[in-house]
Every structure is written in C-alpha cells, then in structure tokens.
C-alpha cells in the first residue's frame, strides 16, 4: 500500500506541473474570451508555434555558440517573446479588427480556420519529422526522502506561479490592466470613458499569444517530442477553462491544475492497481468535466448570470 501512496504523491506533483501548463493555455483562452467574447480555437496552435520558434532559436544559438549555456536559453526565450508579441499583434489585426461587429460565430470560425492554416504552415516549414526539444535542465531530478521530483517539473510549476503573479499584478494594479478589465466589463462604457478599446484588444491578443508561447516553451521539453499534433493539446485546455468557469481567471488556473492531476494520476499508479481505470483513463478528464457541469452549470468559479428577457 505504501507503494500506492508513494506513487500517488509523485504523480500528483508531476500532475500539478502538467496542470500548470494547461492552466496557462486556459489563461490565454480566458483572457481573449473575457475581453472580446471570442472563443479562440487557435490557442493550442499558438502554443505550438511558440514551441517551434523557441526550438528554432535555441538550435540556431547552439550551433553559433557551440556549448549550451544558460544564456543560450535566455536569449532564445527573449527572441520567442518578441516573436509572440508581433504574432499576437498580427492576429488582432487580421482576425479581431475585420470581424469586430460581425456575429461571434464568424469570429470563432475565423479562429478555427486560422488553426488549420497555422498547423499546415508549420508542417510545411518544419517538415513531417518530430523534433527533440532541449531542456535547460536536462533530466536531472531532486529527491526529497523517498519522493523523486524532476527539476523540469519544478521549474514548470515555479514559472507558472511566477507568471500568474505577474499577470495578476498587471491586471489589477496597472493602468492598462484596469483598462482591460473595464473593456471586458462593458466595451461601450469603457470607450465613453476614454479607453482606446482597439488598443486594449490588441493588447489582449498580444498577452494571450505571449502566454501561449510561454506554455509551449514549458510544455515542449516535458512531452519530449515536438510536432504539429501538439496543437491538439489546446483542446485539452478547453475542459480546464470550462471546469473552472469560462471567463474566470482563477477558475482557469484551478481547473487546469485539477485536470492535470487527474490525468496524470489516472494514467499512472491507479491504472496498475485498479483495472477499470485503464479503460477510461484518456476520457476521465471529460467525465469529471461533465459531472461538475451537471452540478454547477457555470463551472466551479463561474458567476451565474441573471438572465432577463
């Protein structure tokens, strides 16, 4: 029985790491949804592009510098950040602006076709072979007594917490963050108060592209293979965002962590100990999601809206 608990503790930690990545992707969705009511189906693809661009930078600098140092990864990270800011701005320009006053359905369609385009372009440029992403930490691990945790997981959890704190600060204590909140509350009133909502929208898309890129960079070494199917992981962040309550930022984070833990635990030790879990371990996230929604139809942290005629 101690085996079971040891395994569970270890898997819960690694599940939290996976969950923090889901939470970051879900954070990207949630920000765009809050501000513009658009469900961005291309979020997973943004993440994939981020991972690819980072990989490209890392390999370029490695071939230039020879041996990998901390600087290689930091400079590559900076390069990917600059790229993602540009990318988010372009996305705002080609998706959000032309479709501003059109039905939400059309914008969702545009993001769906954008996802198809991005996947195809990346596949054409990068070729069909999966790449092996580098991790700055290699595969070293730290042991606390009998529990062994990989440094990569710890770094993921650490950077996710750091990012969430930074975003929290930006949203609640800076001018632009408050402008974003006002815009998502009521765009027309925000505009009347003198908030340049076009620029706020651009900023929201940029933020979400940056978060997506960061999550891609964190996720790529963890799944150890980089190919275009990584974009489909974006679909896994959907239940995370919905579980916490669509449009709620703490909800996205909690939902992501819960789903990550459930997924890792059900795939690992529990499958060895209980036969029936093996049958359902790839859909258990969805079962949890449906069960939660049946009890709380607006997710865990969602606010129930009073609907009027």
């Amino acid at each position: 029985m101690t085996d079971l608990f040891l395994g569970l503790t270890q898997e819960i930690i690694s599940g939290i790491a996976l969950g923090s990545i889901y939470a970051l992707i879900a954070l990207g969705f949630t920000m765009i949804f809050k501000a513009t009511e658009v469900v961005n189906f291309a979020q997973g693809e943004l993440m994939m592009v981020g991972a690819y661009v980072n990989f490209f930078f890392v390999t370029t600098f490695l071939s230039a510098a020879g041996t990998p140092t901390a600087w290689t990864f930091l400079v590559a990270l900076g390069g990917s950040m600059i790229f993602s800011v540009l990318f988010g701005y372009i996305l705002d320009f080609i998706i959000n602006r032309p479709l501003k006053d059109e039905p939400i359905f059309s914008v969702i369609m545009a993001t769906l076709s954008l996802a198809i385009i991005i996947r195809a372009v990346v596949a054409i440029i990068a070729g069909p072979i999966s790449l092996m992403p580098f991790s700055p930490f290699g595969d070293s691990a730290i042991s606390f007594g009998t529990i062994i945790v990989s440094v990569l997981d710890l770094s993921i959890i650490g950077s996710a917490i750091g990012l969430v704190i930074i975003f929290y600060y930006i949203f609640h204590y800076t001018r632009w963050g408050i402008a974003m909140q006002a815009t998502s509350e009521d765009p027309i009133a925000a505009q009347l108060m003198g908030i340049p909502i076009k620029r706020v929208y651009a900023l929201v898309w940029i933020f979400s592209a940056v978060v997506a890129t960061l999550s891609g960079i964190l996720l790529a070494p963890r799944i150890a293979l980089l190919d275009t199917s990584m974009g489909f992981l974006g679909l896994k962040a959907f239940p995370a965002a919905v579980l916490g309550g669509f449009g709620s930022i703490p909800g996205a984070i909690v939902g992501g962590v819960i789903l990550g833990v459930i997924e890792t635990v059900s795939m690992g030790t529990l499958s060895f100990h209980f036969q029936w879990i093996k049958e359902i371990n790839d859909i258990i996230a969805w079962i949890v999601l449906i069960a939660v929604l049946m009890i709380k139809p607006d997710g865990l942290f969602g606010v129930e809206k009073v609907k009027k005629v």
Binding site: V39, I116, M294
Partner: protein, 343 residues
Amino acid sequence: MKGRYEDENLYWIPVLIIFVFLLPFILKGLSFSYKYYLFVLNMAGIYIILNVGLDLLSGFTGLLSLGHAAFLAVGAYSSAILVDQFGVPFALSLILSPLVAGLFGFVIGFPALRISGMYLGLTTMGFGFIVKRMIIAFREWTHGSGGLDVSSPVLFGYTIKTDWNNYFLIYTFVVIAVVAGRRIAKSKIGRAFMAIRDSEQAAQAAGINLAKYKMLAFFISGLFAGFAGVLFAHTSSFISTDHFDILLSIYFIIMILVGGVSSIYGAVLGTLFIVLLDNLFVPLLKDQIHFWFNTQAGDIQSLIFGLIMFLFIIFQPMGLYGMWLKMRIYWKLFPFNPRQRFT
C-alpha cells in the same frame, strides 16, 4: 388562413429534385472520372443529412454541439452490429439505428437542460470522446479500434454496391431529410426551437416547455445523425473509430456556419461547399502548386482549405446563405439599389 409556404416559390423544388437524380447521368456524360465525383457527392449527401439535424439543434435551438460525430458513430455502429451480427434486415435497421442514436440524444440532452453556450459545446465534445471510448470498450461487438467490416445494404432483395447505386440510395434520403427538416423548422416545434434560441425566459413565459423541447431537439438531431450513420456504415463498407474524430464534429459546425445558421438550405449549401472545396477544388489547386513547391501533399491541401475558409469568413461573415439573400434583394430592387449597401 395564410399558407405555410406562401411567401416562397415552390415550383423550383421538383425541378431541383429531378436535377439531383439526373446529375449522375450528366456527370457520366461529361467526365471519365465521374466515379470519384459520385464518391465525393455521396459523402456530401451523408453529411447533408447529419447537418440538417445539427442545424435544427445548434442553429434553430441554439444548443451548440461539438460532438455530433458521436451520433454518426452510434448510428453507424448500431446498424453494423444489428445487420451483420443479429441478422436484422437493412430496411428495419434504417428505422432502429436512428432510434438508438436518438436515445443517445436523450442521454446527452439531459445535462443540456441546465448547461448552455460554450459549456454545452464542451459537454458534447466530451460526449464525443466518451462514445469513442465506449465503442473501443465493447470489443466483442465492435472489434475495438481495429474497425468493422460492414455488409452492403440490401433493399427489396437488391444488393446496392457501387457508388453509382449508392448515390440514388443516399440522395433519396437526402431529399427526404431536407424536406423533413424544412417541415420541422416551419412547424410548431420549429417555432418553439427558435423561441428557445432567442430567449429561454421569454419562451418559458410564453408557455413553451423548455425541458421537453430541448430534449426533443437533441432527439431529432440524433435521429438525423443516426440516419446518416446507417448510410455511412453500409455505403463505405468499413468503419472504425478514426472515422468519427473530434475534428469531424468541428467540421460539421464549420459547414453549417458557412452555410449560414438557422436555415436548412444554408446547411445543405454549406455542406456541399465545404465537401466539394476539400475534395475537388483544393486537390486541383494543389496539383498546380506542386509545380513550385515540393512538400507533403496533405499539408498543402489543408493550407489551401484553411486560407479559402479564412478569406471567405473575413469577406463574407454571414455565410453562403447570407450572400444568397443579399443577392436576391439586390436583383429584386434591381435598378434602384443603393450600390454601397450590397458590396
């Protein structure tokens, strides 16, 4: 008493139906590769049946479904199992299997009573994954992920085998499905659906039983999808869980969105547009592009598909049916139209 179809011209409907059944002969006369065209059209026909049902659910009732491929799978697998393993005749399976899919609609419609919007979309998407997993779990009937060979349909003693014969089978049901979809949309049920979409509270205040009509929407939608599934299983002669991917469900939503939501003809147009674009037009373009680029064929194909879709949405956000409505108004007002409103 005003007639139900008084504001429409009905004379072109029989003409269209005759054209549908003459099309294979025209294609045969025009082209050597008519068999491939018929294959593509058959696929489009099956998707049309499903999308009419999906439009009744997502377009008319406003209940977003991102898992409709699951209903297709339920219909296909139940028919395959009923006919090949229990010896039920195909004609009977045509009635029973859609009912099974309709029952699944009830099951998923039950949580939908409380859930709405994107939450419902995700619930149905989860339902899609769960159904796929269930199909794999019931190995002794479905052969798991290995797939299932399905016999050809036998109707009135005739075995229907080639694409040519399948075309007539499928399009008979397409006509029935479209007419049935129109009738439902124009009936009391259809009006109740639209009232629910526009405002649940107002609909309830007007005496519409929300629970009943939402369940009914899921049931009817499941019936249509199950019907499409039966035809899919028996005309493609092999089914596996890969045929009912989550991406297919998203494509279905794209199809009805391109056609323009909450119009049955829009669903038909959108389905034809996407299927023909993906299977006929894009491969043609792809061959042209291959002179300059040399990459994976599939990537180029999805790139062109995505680009066309994207540009279409940017320049024509209301979809094909919206385009058609604009054109119709344009010609009605012809010499006196304010030009800038119609570009």
